[in-house]
Structures are given as C-alpha cells and as structure tokens.
Symmetry: C2
Subunit: 441 residues, 2 copies
C-alpha cells in the first residue's frame, strides 16, 4: 500500500512537533497509557484473536451456506458497516445477484417499509439470521430480531429456528442477547470487551457475515496482521503520516475531509470510514467532518463544490492499481463520438488518468489531497486498509486531544427516544419532552 500527500499546506505550523506527538501516540497505544486505553483490543487482534472461536466462525459460515439461500444480518453502526463494506469491496455491490448465499442487512433502521420488503422477499426462501449487538440492547436490532425470530419459528419451529440463528454479542456485561442465546440454544460468538463497535470488523461481528458471503477471511486477517507488524515500528510510517496530515490540515482550517474512492464497490467502505473517524474524533466541539464521494461519479455532482466552494476541504483518495477485469476500448468506424483516440486503451487507463487529472485540478483549486493506492481490491489489501485506518484514527484522535474510543454523544437521542417511547423509568423525561415538542415549531 502506498500513501502520498501534499505537505505544502502546512503554512506556519510546526510539522515536527506533530511528528513527535504521533510517535508518542503510538507509544501510548502500545503501552496503554493514552485515553480510553481499556478499549485497545483491536490493536493486536489480527495476531491475538481467539483461534478456537475463529474456527467456529468458519464452520458456522459453511453451515449457513449449506442451510440457506438468504442470510439476514441484523445489526447497526459498527455491527453493520464493516461486514457490508467488506463484502461489497471484495465481491461487488450487486453480489447478491450471482451468489450461492444472498446476504441482506436489516435492523439498521426503524423503517417499516424496508423491513416489510425484506420479510416479503424472505417468505419463500430458506433463511438464516445473524443477530449482532455488542450490548445486546440496541433498539433497532432487538426490534427487528423479534420479527425475524417469529418468522423463523413459524417456518422451522422453535428448534429448527434455533439451528438457524447465530448471535454475536458480548459476554461480560451479561447482555440480554447472550442470555437469550444460552436459553434458546443459538450458536453464540463473543465480541472481546476491549473492542469498540467501530473497531470490531475483524471480530466475529464482521468475520461471520463476511465468511458466509464467501470472502476469504484468512487472507483478510493476514493483510491486517501484516499491516499491524509493519506499522508497529516507531519510526516514520504511513499510518502515522496519515494521522499527522489530517491534524495538519485541520489546524490549517481544513475542517472537512472528503474520502474519495475510485471504485463504486468501495461506497460502503466510505460509510465505514465515516463512522470510524466521525465517531472517534467528533467530540468536544472539534474534529474533522468526514464526508465521502465516489469518483468519477461524484465529480458530476459534488465536483463543482469541491473545486470552487468554501476552501475548508481536504481530500483522501483511494485507488486500485490492478483492477482485475479489463475492458479494452475499440475504434469505431466513422468515429461517431470522437473517442477513437482512445482505441486500444483499457478502461482502467481512463480511470487512472481521470484520477491524476482530478488531483491536480483540486490541488489547483485549493484542496490538498492525499492518495492511498493498493495493488488489488482483494481480501488481503482490505485487511491491510482496515488496520491502517483504525491505527491512523486512534493516533489522529490522540493528536486532536480526544478519546478516540468513546461515543458519549450517541446516548442523547437514545435517552430522549426511550422517554418518548414510554419505557418504564423514563416517565419524568417524557413529560418534559412532550411539552418541548409541542412548543417546537
């Protein structure tokens, strides 16, 4: 993996001081002496993962593929984005069209239309469910799981359903989902305590659905493990440099990062990226706002703003060197569209030139940009990328001075929601909120 960025935007800022701080941050991660150091399980996970559980994950994935046409993965946030990102990155956004096992994600909204559509689709198919909730109490997930549990029990009976339900949760907090899995006999996978949701893609949270979709998780873990060893060095490395760059730009007034992959199949990786960085850094009234686009698609939608809007942006592109399936452009008689000068060129050449063209145009427009290049869009490189981003994010959060492992702000709407839903114990808040809503115009 190669990483390059313009360091011309540092202005008067002291880059050397950031470099020292980044090295210190890496030490703090290794020694567990920084903020949130009880959530560092992900740091050595690609080497220290539970081998016995991993073997069970692979067996379960095989069993699911044998049992079913459809796997419904019920989870939200960190229990959703990583697996979906991985499957689409390695396979494709339309992987369900030509897969032995279709994978659908549910429990990531409270939309009755979305849920009804999926229930209809599953009616006449053989279905397995993987319910994923670290705490075991996430409302979206629990509500939707109730509905699918009923569907499966009606279809296969209680014992048959138990054979098709896989639970991924946490043991230590005695999650209600863990208790239910024990009682009903669901196969259960555990998320290690010191791994937060957005850092959990390489635990059972991500690995079971990813493996079930036919993605090679051995290679994924190998990529992450190689990245881990590579970036463990204290010196100058890309993971630190990316964190330094983000903080350098931020201090120079570039408050918004645009994550810009050059493959449509990386769209959901952009969503995973946004959670990772947004939730890790967006606190104490600071943090780079993470946005994402896909190129060249969004050069024709957000391109104008990026080129000429408020000059508070920087950009991180992600490109693939060898795209695998090549398409050669041909010459056409009469050159009806004036494109014959591209005859004999592969489509990937166009994509690559569009990228170089855009880097320069945006640079000239005042948008500094970084480029991450990987050799192939395969499992190994995705594992590397996952680790690269998680490590960079942790270092970047330390440079910013925040705890990159908590998410205190996520609770606020939940408390309001429980009150408004009439959850026992929230009566007083309910009264206050109801009055406030009436007065809100």
């Amino acid at each position: 993996m190669a990483f390059n960025f313009d360091s011309t935007y540092s202005g008067d800022l002291d880059i050397q001081s950031l470099v020292q701080q980044a090295k210190q941050a890496l030490q703090d991660l290794k020694n567990a002496t920084g903020k949130g150091s009880d959530f560092l399980g992900w740091l050595t996970l690609p080497r220290d993962y539970d081998k016995e559980e991993y073997a069970r994950i692979k067996l379960a994935a095989q069993k699911i593929r044998g049992q079913s046409q459809v796997l419904v993965v019920i989870g939200i946030g960190g229990s959703y984005l990583g697996a979906r990102a991985a499957i689409e990155f390695v396979k494709s956004q339309t992987h369900n069209q030509n897969s032995d096992l279709e994978v659908y994600f549910a429990g990531n909204s409270l939309s009755s239309k979305a849920l009804s559509n999926l229930l209809d689709y599953c009616k006449d198919k053989d279905v397995c469910v993987n319910v994923i909730s670290k705490s075991g109490t996430t409302t979206e997930c629990s509500v939707v799981f109730r509905v699918f549990k009923e569907l499966l029990e009606n279809k296969y009976g209680k014992a048959g359903a138990a054979e098709r339900i896989y639970a991924t949760t946490e043991y230590s907090r005695r999650s209600k989902l863990y208790e239910l899995a024990q009682k009903e006999g669901y196969e259960c996978f555990l998320v290690p305590d010191p791994v937060g949701g957005r850092y959990s893609v390489l635990t059972a949270v991500g690995l079971l659905p990813i493996a079930a979709a036919g993605v090679n998780t051995d290679a994924l873990l190998k990529g992450a493990c190689d990245a881990m060893e590579h970036y463990a060095k204290d010196g100058d490395n890309d993971a630190l440099r990316y964190a330094i760059m983000r903080n350098l730009y931020y201090k120079a007034g570039k408050k918004l990062e645009i994550f810009a992959p050059w493959e449509p199949d990386f769209t959901m990786l952009g969503e995973w990226f946004k959670q990772l960085f947004g939730e890790s850094e967006g606190k104490e009234n600071k943090g780079v706002f993470p946005a994402s686009v896909v190129y060249t698609t969004d050069l024709h939608s957000m391109g104008q703003y990026i080129q000429e809007g408020e000059r508070t942006l920087f950009e991180t592109m992600l490109a693939v060197k060898n795209c695998g399936s090549e398409i050669l452009l041909k010459e056409e008689e009469g050159d009806p569209d004036g494109l014959n000068f591209l005859g004999g060129k592969p489509l990937s050449f166009l994509n690559k030139q569009a990228m170089e063209a855009t880097r320069i145009a945006h640079f000239d427009g005042g948008v500094p940009n970084a480029l991450i290049e990987i050799d192939r869009a395969d499992e190994y490189h995705l594992g590397w990328l996952f680790y690269f981003f998680m490590l960079s994010c942790a270092v970047s959060g330390y440079l910013l001075g925040v705890n990159p492992f908590d998410q205190p702000g996520v609770e606020e709407y939940k408390v309001n929601m429980f009150a408004l839903l009439g959850k026992p114990g929230f009566e007083k808040q309910r009264e206050i909120l109801t009055q406030r809503i009436e007065s809100l115009c």
Copy 2:
C-alpha cells in the same frame, strides 16, 4: 407538505432583509432578470412540458417493458441521480428483485469492474439501453455506450439494436449523440435547452427511466405542477422559507447542511439533493456544503459527530407521515429483550419518536434543524419535493449572490483528463501536466 425550522439561530442577523431578498429572487426568477436566466426552463416545465414528447416517453416506456428484462440507463450526474432517486423513493432500493423490468445505471463511473459485472449480468438477458447525455459528449457516458452498443448489435444485429436503444440528448448544440441517433434510427428524446442537468429530472432525462420502472409519471408531474402553482405566490411560502433558513444559518457560521431522511429508500434522493445544492451554490469560494445521512442508520455512525463535533452544522430532516406498510410489535413471553413495553405499537411509531428524540437532542447540542414532512412516499409527493427543492435552491443561490445554474468548476478536471488521455488538441497541456504529476509526491 409541511416545513418547519427553528428561527432561534439567527443571532443578530436581519431576517427581514433576507425575506425581502427572497421575494425579490422569486420575482427575478419569474421575470428572468436574475443570474443565469437563460436556464429557467425548469421553472414552468411541470405545466409547459411538451405534451407530444411526453406521450412518446410513455409509449417508449411501455415498449421497453415489453421488449426487455433489463433496462440499462447510461448517464452521469444530472443524467443519472434523479431517475435513480425517484425509482428507489417510490419503489425501493431493491426494486429490481421483484420488478417486471430491472433497471441498472451505468456510465456513471470509469470502473471496469462495475462495467464487467453488469455486462456479465446482461449477457443472457433481453436488454434495452437508454443513453442520456445532454451535451452528447460526456466521456463516461460515451465510453460505456460504445460497449453496450456493441453488445446489443452482436445480440440483435444493427437494426435490432436500433430498436432497443433510446437516446436522450439536446438538439440545439447538435450533439454527437443526436447525430448518431438520427443516423442509426434510435428513438430520440430532447432535453429543452434552458434546463440544466441537475434541474432536468422532470424532462425525458428522468421521465423515461422512471416510467419504464413502472412509476406513475402523471402523478409525479401533477405533484410538481401543484407545487409550482403553490409556490408561485409572492408571499411567505415554504420554498422561500427554506432558502431563507439556509442563508440565515450560513451567515451565522453553519457552513454544512446535513440532509437527513428517515427512510432508507430516500438515500439516493440525498445524492440528488447534494448535486442540486452543491453544484448550484458551491462557487466563488462560498456555499453550504451538502452532506447526507439516513436515520436512524447513521445515528450509529455520524450521530456522535453531529451531536458533539464542530458546531458548524445544521440539519434538514425529511420524514413520511403515513408509511403504508405497517408492522405491529408483539409482546413476547418472558420479555427476553425488555421490549414488551412496545407491544401493540407499530414500527412507524418508533421511527417517529426516534425522530422527535433526535431533533431535540441535536437542537440541544447546538445543531438547528428543519423538518420537511410529507404525507406519503408516493409519486405525487416526490414531484412536489423535486419542485420544492429546485425552486428553493434557485432562490437560495440568489440570496448567496451566485449564479445557481452554471458549473464552471466541473470543467477543470475534464481539461486535465483530456490532456492526459492524449486527446488531439491538448498536446501542450499534456506536457505540462505530465511533468507536474512526476513532481507530485
């Protein structure tokens, strides 16, 4: 449609002066006395559209449904986002699963992987193509159309292919696509000159694929026409108020708008929204940066940042009052997940309470928010919304002092790209750029 927003964030700004300016902007649109007034075709289009062409669009849509299993729509930016947004809004994100005609969008990237996958999928199916390019020279679109044209000619012969290719382009500039359509005998639809790409969803650009997907375009146009008549009044109306609100917040330092629909099927409407506002306002180093999320999904990813990150955000939510397909939650023996207090409640009640909870949480966190509520997620209300947003956007651009109908910044990367691709006439730029790329680290 109802629209509400907090006017408490105006600070010391003069809201009355903005109100006057907005009324003036509406007059400038009606009288064609504002910036970019040669691109106002969309303003009265829902009433003044070409009835003969519209009848041909509906016939072509019927013919496509009879001819094919798959319609491939080739277009990018404004020739892509509106149709996809409409089909997913009215049908669903997974509409291809249970539709007589599957609709795929291509030519919106230069990815050979994405194109290869779609070509593979189309190999054994009956296919029609709608190629959409206003100028008739968009690179992504032209390149991908060459490939599909070859596929169709190999499959059906030259005459058979011509029966299955529909071109949507512009007449006046004598687009190459128009010339090709005449020569090959493709059925051709024309985008009126004074309608820019991002304002073109209610022309053949949007209407043909939308109608082919089985969406009722009569109702869509009726909604837009009713909105047009409603907002043509000079007085206080929601379209003006939304434009005023955006500029009020922007002047108060809220530089980033989060468009937040409460239905996953509105995801692509968010992409359409981002092009409309981003491309209309993002110029002269100013403009609100448009981002989008989907709730409750992204409360578990971007929620932390929105609640507690940099306080430069405001939010515009979009919710549906009557969701159509209801799911009732049941009580469960033993209350294994503690959710029995929701027994008997419809899922839409939860979604609605989550929305109220979030509005208050974000308001309390310093994020002013507006709420657009529609009765139903149907064609009529979508037509109304399309018009509402286009009109608000034009007024908002005038308030900001920019021309909301041009996009000068989109050309920059294109010029670089043509040079790098070796297009005849760009030799000198090519030389300069090649050197610059080598020096870029």
